[in-house]
């Protein structure tokens, strides 16, 4: 068995059945081995960046390891944005690249780049294989590392000669299952019971720990008013009456107000990102904090915490649930207050009932949320549409919302939707994108067509880079700079060129029929939604400002407005 065959063998042993890649010179031995392999489905994307982003979408939707493959040089460098995206959002990913033959490393050989060196900052760990016999142990360790603790991408760079070299059949070390310790929750419970205004603050760590069910049970049984980060959307479930929605820069007024007023923050699986907290000095000024996370380096990183608990979230959440079931928290007045704030300051954009009126982003997303079937996976891109989805789509599970949170990668949505569709060929997967983001990986329409994936594409087209335009309007004296995209191609014709049917709508009374038409179609279909160039995402907190200083639509000036 050579190195390439060993890699496929390792995939089989770890039940990796789908990988995303693009061939080239130095990775060709692996592609040669794939010819004889029927157990691994290789998805050929049309750009290596899309391979990495599709592997990311596959991992997020399925909870499994995402795998992407590319050749040396430009193949590897094209992967980098996708791998950085996975790193910032802690997505379990295995990256395999071919490298020039061992003897040519350091000679500026054709398609040679120092992949190990240039990717150090965007991986959880990385290897340059220098001995074929070390490959089995590296493969095992890499797959374990990518998925354990705080997950992340692990990159293996393999010289071509080692892909072709015989790999000895020596047994490789298998990691023993680690014992999960049960931290002492006495102090946490004491703090929770002493609090009069506690807030449950959760993020992407819940689904990364596969703790979605335990979190939901805890949130429901504790009846704690809950806020979520962008990556935590869906954690509390859409029927939880105490869910105040997303906090932060584009968060709900209710969520930001509740955090501002609370006396205890119970932070679970979140890292206090600046987009969520706003200016740290003004964040939850009256609150003590309990921080529960898998990553010790997140504790006290940005804000000192009164109590830190590091460990398996499943065990911790179960123990907290049991403890509170015996004696529920006495926070009736606070729950009532938060509900009042939610009623007046939640995301409640009214539907536009004027049939001939132009379509607004929030109204469209709210209709989409009502019409799309349960368990629909929405893969967003980055920009205004991303925030409208975060604000107005009722997600019932965090794995239904795929979004580039940490890196903010335009072009994420389409390949992520491809990955999600491969994770479950029967699920409804919708890429909600904008005209700017769509053009960053539009070549992947060919991948959708090639595999006949029933991915639905919704392009919300305002003929500009809307989020940049909005910030230029609000924070740069309305001096527009390089945001105009009014020479976009005809997206309907473009989809059809890829043999994907498409539909255009631009009026409110066309929304329902448009959504129903693409959902009913048995195959991929694109819906082009023309929206106003002037629409903004409300509310907004100026970057670097406190979350108290939200700017609302009714006062679209630079004047700061305090949360009422």
């Amino acid at each position: 068995m050579n190195g390439a065959q060993h890699i496929l063998d390792a995939f089989h042993r770890h039940n990796i059945s789908t990988v995303f890649g693009y061939p080239g010179g130095c990775i060709m031995p692996l592609y040669d081995a794939l010819v004889d392999d029927v157990g691994v489905e290789h998805v050929l994307c049309r750009h290596e960046q899309a391979c990495a982003l599709a592997a990311d979408g596959y991992a997020r939707a399925s909870g499994k390891l995402g795998v992407c493959i590319a050749t040396s040089g430009p193949g590897a460098t094209n992967l980098i944005t996708g791998v950085a995206n996975a790193h910032r959002d802690s997505i379990p990913m295995l990256v395999i690249t071919g490298q020039v033959p061992s003897g040519l490393i350091g000679t500026d050989a054709f398609q040679e780049t120092d992949v190990l060196g240039m990717t150090l900052g965007i991986v959880k760990h990385s290897y340059l294989v220098d001995d074929a016999d070390s490959l089995p142990a590296i493969m095992e360790e890499a797959m374990e590392l990518a998925q354990s603790g705080r997950p992340g991408p692990v990159w293996i760079d393999i010289p071509k000669d080692l892909l072709l070299a015989d790999v000895s059949d020596t047994p490789f070390p298998r990691s023993e299952p680690r014992e999960v310790s049960s931290p002492d929750l006495t102090e946490a419970l004491t703090m929770l019971r002493a609090a009069r205004k506690p807030i449950l603050y959760s993020g992407g760590g819940i689904s990364l720990a596969h703790a979605e069910d335990r979190f939901r049970t805890f949130a429901e049984s504790a009846s704690l008013p809950a806020v979520v980060t962008l990556k935590g959307i869906g954690n509390p479930g859409k029927h939880n009456p105490y869910n105040l929605g997303m906090l932060g820069m584009h968060g709900s007024r209710a969520a930001n107000k509740a955090v501002d007023e609370c006396d205890l923050l119970l932070v679970i699986g979140a890292r206090l990102d600046d987009r969520a907290t706003g200016k740290l000095d003004g964040f939850a000024p009256n609150a003590k904090m309990i921080h529960i996370d898998a990553d010790a380096a997140e504790i006290n990183k940005l804000r000192p915490t009164e109590l830190a608990i590091r460990g398996d979230l499943n065990g911790i959440l179960e123990a907290l649930t049991n403890a509170l079931q015996d004696k529920p928290l006495d926070i009736g007045d606070w729950q009532k207050q938060c509900r009042t704030w939610y009623t007046t300051g939640g995301f409640h954009a009214a539907d536009n009932e004027e049939p001939l009126a132009p379509i607004t982003g929030p109204a469209f997303v709210r209709q989409l949320s009502r019409i799309a079937p349960d368990n629909t996976v929405i893969a967003c891109d980055v920009g205004q549409h991303q925030m409208w989805v975060a604000q107005h789509y009722d997600f019932d599970h965090p794995r239904h919302h795929l979004t580039s949170g940490g890196l903010g990668t335009m072009g994420y949505g389409l390949p992520a939707a491809i990955g999600a569709q491969f994770a479950d060929r029967k699920s409804t997967v919708i890429n909600v994108t904008g005209d700017g983001s769509f053009m960053m990986n539009a070549q992947e329409l060919a991948t959708i067509r090639r595999y006949n994936l029933p991915v639905k594409l919704i392009v919300m087209d305002n003929q500009c880079l809307g989020m940049v335009r909005q910030q230029q309007e609000l924070f740069y004296g309305n001096r527009e700079s390089q945001i105009n995209l009014d020479d976009n191609p005809d997206f309907v014709a473009m989809a059809r060129a890829f043999d994907i049917p498409a539909l255009h709508i631009n009026r409110t009374d066309q929304i329902r029929r448009g959504i129903e038409t693409i959902l009913a179609y048995n195959g991929p279909m694109l819906l082009h939604v023309a929206i106003s160039r002037e629409d903004n995402v409300w509310p907004i907190v100026k970057p670097g400002a406190s979350n108290r200083e939200m700017i609302d639509e009714t006062r679209r000036t630079n004047k700061k407005e305090h949360v009422a």
Binding site: L116, L120, G121, K124, H125, L128, A296, A297, I299
Partner: protein, 92 residues
């Protein structure tokens, strides 16, 4: 996190044991840089399968934050804060 303005930059002595691997020192140095510290001195000794690295670092951020980030590196076995050789002591 905003670096605090102080009359002189605190410095720290830090010792680190990590596995010998292709990019060991680059990995270490990159984390030190990106987390806001500057390497003033650095001594490296090879000890079998390990590298023992002793550094003097300058930086205004909490040193504990850097320590926890270094401890996250898969190939780092141990990080110890040594005696502070500079004029100021700063703890997290």
């Amino acid at each position: 996190m905003k670096p605090q303005s102080q009359p002189s930059t605190p410095n720290y002595k830090i010792s680190c044991r990590m596995s010998q691997e292709a990019a060991a020192l680059e990995r270490l140095c990159q984390v030190i840089r990106i987390r806001g510290f500057r390497i003033a001195t650095m001594a490296v000794e090879s000890a079998g399968e390990h590298l023992d690295i002793t550094l003097t670092l300058e930086g205004t951020r909490p040193i504990a934050m850097l320590q926890s980030q270094l401890e996250k590196l898969h190939t780092v076995a141990e990080v110890a804060l040594g005696q502070v050789s500079g004029v100021r002591v700063q703890t997290a």
